[in-house]
Assembly symmetry: C2
Homo-oligomer: 117 residues x 2
């Protein structure tokens, strides 16, 4: 058995992962969708959440609609008026559950990757 | 607060993940690379491993070289002759360690996704 003698510079290897949610139809949402929902809940409106994440209002709404279509349940409750006068949005219970479970899994996987590599 | 009344068909959501290894330079290898290394170890040659995975010999060698360059250490020991007369290859200790640790992490993440969703 001949060991190849080409000199290589050993670099430390670390694991990385990506987490997403799917249904039997395929991809439903991932980090981007969860972050947007969290930002809507924090800001109380899609307009402010989109601004904070540097995406257009149109893109943000499109993403929410796509998630709702994929999962089959509303992620946001919207209302008119409010302190800004422009209405607002809250994440539904279903949406909050999605956020909570996604972040919990993410945390556990990160922990495993740190402690078991 | 107005709840949108659009009727949606709730679909069961499940988590999915992708695992890969990286260095400070970026991506090093993922499922495809680990599978190829495992197949080389099983078959004892790159030719047979490539055939088994339906990739060209050229592509398989290119992938191995890319992994070695990314990580900075040889993944295969090659030798001439052997029972087929065409030489063969074995995965190095470093390669075996990569395979073992990658599969162990993958297993643990799968377990968490099943039990904690």
């Amino acid at each position: 058995m001949k060991e190849r003698t080409r000199k290589l510079n050993l670099r430390p290897v670390r694991p990385a992962f990506k987490l997403w949610l799917k249904t039997e139809r395929g991809y439903a949402l991932g980090e981007g969708g969860v972050r947007l929902l969290q930002e809507v809940e924090k800001c109380g409106s899609i307009t402010d959440a989109a601004k904070s994440l540097r995406m257009s209002y149109r893109y943000a709404w499109g993403l929410v609609r796509k998630i709702e279509k994929n999962i089959g349940t509303p992620m946001l409750d919207t209302y008119k008026g409010g302190s800004h006068g422009g209405g607002g949005a809250r994440v539904t219970q279903a949406g909050l559950t999605i956020i909570r479970k996604y972040r919990a899994l993410e945390e556990e996987i990160s922990h495993i990757l740190k402690s078991n590599w």
